[in-house]
Each structure stands twice: as C-alpha cells, then as structure tokens.
C-alpha cells in the first residue's frame, strides 16, 4: 500500500521547471493540420497517463473521446476533472482509470450518490483524490502558468486539507498569514470538447468556460473534439473569441453530439431520458447494470454515430432544440 501511495504521491508532485521546459520544447508547435479520426486520436493517450478532462459535471464533457479511449482498452489512467459525472462511472467500471482527481463525483445532483463510484472506491479498486473545486482550478492554473504551485486560502483547517499532504502550508513572507500552496497539475494529456475549432486547433467556445483554457495550457498534449471544424479564416475574423491557441493542440476530431448524453452549451442540453435510464440501470446494480450499459452502449456500437442511434434521433433533436434556446433571450 505504501508503495502505491508513494507512486501515487509522485503523480501529484509538480515537475521541475527544467523537466517541464524540456518536455514542452520537444513538442511540434508549428501551424499544421491535425485532423484525425476518433479512433486515431486514442493513440495520443498511453496506459497510465494522467488525463485532464474538460467541461464540468454534465457540461461540455468530452464523452465521445472518453468512450473511444475505453473501447481502445486504455488502462490505469489518472483522470483529473473539476467535477466528475457519469463520465467517471464509465472510466472506473471499464477499468480504464484507477485514480480520480476531482472535487465532486456523482452522476448529478438529481440522483444522489453514484453507486458505481461508491462500489469502486469503497472496494479499493480505485482511488478518489479529493481537492476543493477552487484548488482543482488553481492546480490547473499553476500548470498553465509554468509555476510549481498556487497559493490559496481554502482547504485550511478542514479534513479535505489534512488528506492532501501533496499541498504545503506556508507563512506568507509579506503578511505572515497562513496560506496553502497547491501543486501545479500538468496532465500528460487533456481531452476537451468545444463548439468549434479550425484544423490547426484554434478553438473558440461559448458560454460556460469551466477550466478548459487553463487545462489546455497546462497539459503536455491536447486532444480536441469539436461539434464542427471551421476554416482558419473564420477564426481570424474574430481572434478575440479564440480561447485555446493551436500550438497547445495535438489532435482535432470533428464529432457532432460529442458530449452525448451530456450537454454542449448552445448546441444541446443533456439527454435526460437517456441519463435517467442510465442512472436507474447502474445504480440498481453497479456491477451488472454497469456491465450491461458498457456492453450495449460502449462496446456494442460500431461507431459514435451508431451510439447516437441508440439514444435516438427524437431525443437528440429535443436536446438540440433545448440547447439552442439559450439564444432566445
């Protein structure tokens, strides 16, 4: 156990600046096309990688990419996300991931505690590393900024803080106050879904931003999935709308409804009937119910489009109608 503990603690320690710079200097940052298929994109993730996941809860979750990684048989990933929803269930149950770094993990507030999450954590099959929501953000931000930590003023005093020896208390040299230094999080790879980007990876996303811009900047590699690929000309017409610059990005996958059954701001709301069916199935029996879902909806379909077929056009259209309503105001 202590062995694993050390290994896992090392996962959390920030890299030295020399290493961080060396790792980045090796990356090809030239302006070049990066469009690949969903299946090809899975090659950018290796077993055991730390993976940063964009969006939050049921919003802009890169579900299609997660789905593809599970199908590709990835193992022992350490997955970090601000707030984890059913994406986390799938990652744990498929054994793609054995370590979740987040502030909150359940399918959604409407459904109580995820039985799938409970099963995996309580039986020790996987580890849940808990940070406060702001601490998650500050860890990505420190990673994005190329600094080894960020000082924060929460997590002090609480047991959330006590469980995280990876963070260090300090007395401020200016004010003599107590601060908590949370270590930078520079994931091996980030998965981010956006409304639109160009073939180079210049990404623009609308509405809720979550931590995605910092995550992209912090990661060693970025895989973008996107509702649609637009021309570089379109990007250059409104450069102040670009949130992720191309040189952080390694792969671009065009994937309509790429967050299904979660939502993509302004494009579709969550597919709530599918979500309710899912939660009901897996929480009734977090092992068999989950396996049934994986077999039928993850391993079963030949393609992402076939998975969408299983959700059904009616629910997709309904979700899209609701999603677009954000612009009715």
């Amino acid at each position: 156990m202590s062995d694993t503990g050390n290994k896992e603690k090392n996962r959390t320690a920030p890299r030295s600046y020399t290493e961080l710079r060396k790792d980045l200097s090796r990356r090809d940052r030239s302006l070049r096309e990066k469009v690949v298929s969903l299946e090809e994109a899975t090659a950018f993730v290796r077993d055991g990688d730390s993976v940063g996941i964009g969006g939050s809860t049921m919003s802009r979750t890169p579900m299609g990419m997660i789905w593809a990684l599970i199908r590709a048989g990835k193992k022992n990933l350490s997955c970090a996300r601000s707030i984890v929803s059913s994406d986390g269930d799938l990652l744990l149950a498929s054994r793609a991931c054995n370590h979740i770094v987040t502030s909150w993990f359940s399918q959604g507030i409407l459904w109580g505690v995820s039985k799938v999450m409970r099963h995996h954590i309580e039986t020790g099959k996987a580890r849940y590393e808990e940070w406060s929501h702001m601490a998650m953000g500050m860890r990505f931000r420190a990673g994005a900024m190329g600094i080894p930590f960020m000082p924060i003023r929460s997590m002090l005093g609480s047991d959330v803080g006590k469980q995280r020896p990876e963070a260090v208390e300090m007395n401020c040299p200016f004010t003599a106050e107590k601060l908590l230094l949370v270590p930078a999080l520079n994931p091996d790879v980030a998965l981010i879904h956006v409304q639109r980007c160009d073939a180079y990876g210049n990404a623009q996303f609308d509405g809720l931003q979550f931590m995605d811009a910092d995550l992209a900047m912090a990661a060693d590699k970025v895989i973008l999935t996107t509702e649609r690929i637009i021309s570089n000309d379109q990007i250059r017409r409104a450069p102040d709308q670009t949130k992720i610059p191309f040189f952080t990005v390694d792969a671009v996958v065009e994937l309509p409804f790429g967050c299904a059954p979660h939502e993509c701001y302004g494009v579709y709301e969550p597919m709530m009937r599918h979500m309710e069916y899912y939660v009901d199935l897996v929480n009734k029996d977090p092992v068999k119910g989950m396996q049934e879902y994986l077999d039928r909806f993850v391993y079963g379909p030949k393609s992402w489009t076939e998975f969408l077929d299983l959700i059904g056009v009616e629910e997709l259209l309904e979700a899209a109608r609701a999603g677009e309503s954000i612009y009715d105001a």
Binding site: S56, T57, M58, S59, S82, I83, T102, S103, W104, F105, S106, G108, I109, L110, V113, M117, R118, I121, E122, Y128, E130, W131, S132, H133, M134, A135, M136, G137, M138, F140, R141, I152, R153, S154, M155, L156, G157, S158, D159, V160, Q163, E169, E177, K178, L179, G207, L208, Q209, F210, M211, A213, D214, E263, Y265, E269, P270, M272, G323, I326, A329
Partner: protein, 256 residues
C-alpha cells in the same frame, strides 16, 4: 391564511432560508434548495440580490419551471450578467466580493462543520460520498447559510470528516487554522433557525419554527443544543411566498 399552512418541509425550508437573504447582497448559491430560495428572495423582496453559481455565473435570473439540474448547466446562464470560468467565480469568494454562501448539507455538527465526503477511514471509506465541490471554498471564505433537513443522524456531535469548515473545534480554532474570515452564520432546518455562540462557537437555536417545541428540536439533534435567551418563533410561510415558490418549481423537483 389556513391554506398557507399546508406546506411541505422542503417548502418551509426554502421559504425560511429565503428570508435570511437581504436585498443588495451577493450570494453564492448551491443547486437545489439554495438556488430555489435565492431565486425566491430575488422575486419577493430582494430585486437587487445577485446570485452566483459555481459553474461560472454572475447575476443569474432563473426562469420559473426551468430549474437547472446542476449549477454547471447552461440553464444557469440564462439572462445572467456575466458568464466566466469556474475558477474565476470561486476566486470572487477569495477576493471578498461575496456576502453569503448558501448551501445544503447532508451532515452538520455542533460547530457547523459539514461532511459531504465520506464515512469511515479516508484511505478506504465505508461510505464514499460525492465530495466537497465548491463547498470547502465557500465555507472557508465567506459567511454561510446552510439549509438542512432536521434529523438526528444529520445533526451530529462531530462529523466523521470535515469537508466544509464551520468553526472546526469551536472557540478560535477556525481563525487559528488560517481561516481568518467567514464562518457559519445561520443554519435553517425544518424545525428551527440556528446561529453560533460568539465565544465557544456552538450551535444555538435562535427561533423555533411554527408549532415546534424546544424538546422536539433537542430530541432530533445528536448533541446538546443551546437556546438563545430571546428565543423567537419564525413566522409561517405566507400565501405569497408559497405561491411564488410553487410557480418557480411547478414540477416540484425540490419542494416535494
């Protein structure tokens, strides 16, 4: 008037917590009853109440019947004044722009500490709960209002795990740990309204809900309660409060 008294515990909780908010305040609201109560207050007598959501929203105006399933969904942003990153909105707490943090809770102790993380050994919990979310940040950085169902197993002497800090072990322990600001301001349950003693920082009943006795509150609480000298009685929900509330949640997602 008679009609007004026919209400659920959740409705009472929502209405009483709404009353704790003041016009002009900036309130950071969790999903469920806090979101509903803040929106209710905004529609009743706090038109310039500003509601923040963890997903990255400032100045939300929730539409009746369109309650969002979480504070990270696009429905939270409808007609907001600003949509920003989730780290950014949490940093507003740290900078000090927020008057009140407003959350629900599953388990609270005599010092106002909340547990939403786990029961048992942290390394291998007996029951793993969802976790802090922004709860720890909100409770660490601003004045808190907590709305809770009153049950003995929820009001415990010591929580298994301090997810969101109240006054920690009482007295000055919160301040000593580096949390120099904020703290538990009010707890609202379906039985009573509570504050915390200024010295020892233990929970204290300041008002009983209509028809509730001291004994009832104590019997449903897992630790010895203090009662304020000038113990009050909360006014029952008014017709207007109930009408507005039911319009907000016509599907009774949170108020049944």
């Amino acid at each position: 008037m008679l009609k007004a008294q026919v209400h659920t515990a959740a409705e009472l909780l929502t209405i009483l917590s709404a009353r704790e908010l003041k016009n002009g305040q900036v309130v950071f609201a969790g999903v469920g009853i806090p979101l509903l109560a803040a929106t209710l207050a905004q529609r009743l007598n706090c038109p310039s109440l500003t509601i923040l959501f963890e997903g990255g929203v400032i100045g939300a105006l929730i539409e009746p019947g369109k309650l969002p399933p979480s504070t990270n969904d696009q429905r939270c942003t409808m007609r907001a004044n600003m949509v920003l990153g989730s780290a950014e909105v949490l940093l507003l707490l740290q900078r000090g722009y927020v008057d009140v943090g407003f959350m629900g809770g599953a388990q609270i102790d005599q010092y106002g500490n909340l547990n939403s993380s786990l029961i048992g050994d942290p390394a291998r919990p007996k029951t793993r709960l969802p976790g802090t979310g922004g709860g720890n940040d909100i409770a660490s950085l601003t004045q808190m209002i907590v709305a809770m169902k009153h049950e003995k197993r929820r009001f415990v002497e010591h929580v298994d795990f301090i997810t969101s800090p109240g006054f920690l072990r009482g007295g000055t322990t919160r301040h000593d740990s580096g949390l120099v600001t904020g703290g538990m301001h009010r707890v609202v349950s379906d039985l009573a309204v509570f504050d915390f003693d200024e010295k020892d920082r233990r929970m204290r009943v300041i008002a009983l809900n209509p028809g509730v006795t001291r004994e009832q509150v104590q019997d449903n609480t897992g630790f010895k309660l203090k009662f304020a000298d000038d113990l009050g009685i909360t006014g029952p929900p008014t017709d207007q409060e109930l009408k507005e509330l039911r319009e907000l949640d016509p599907e009774r997602l949170y108020i049944s």
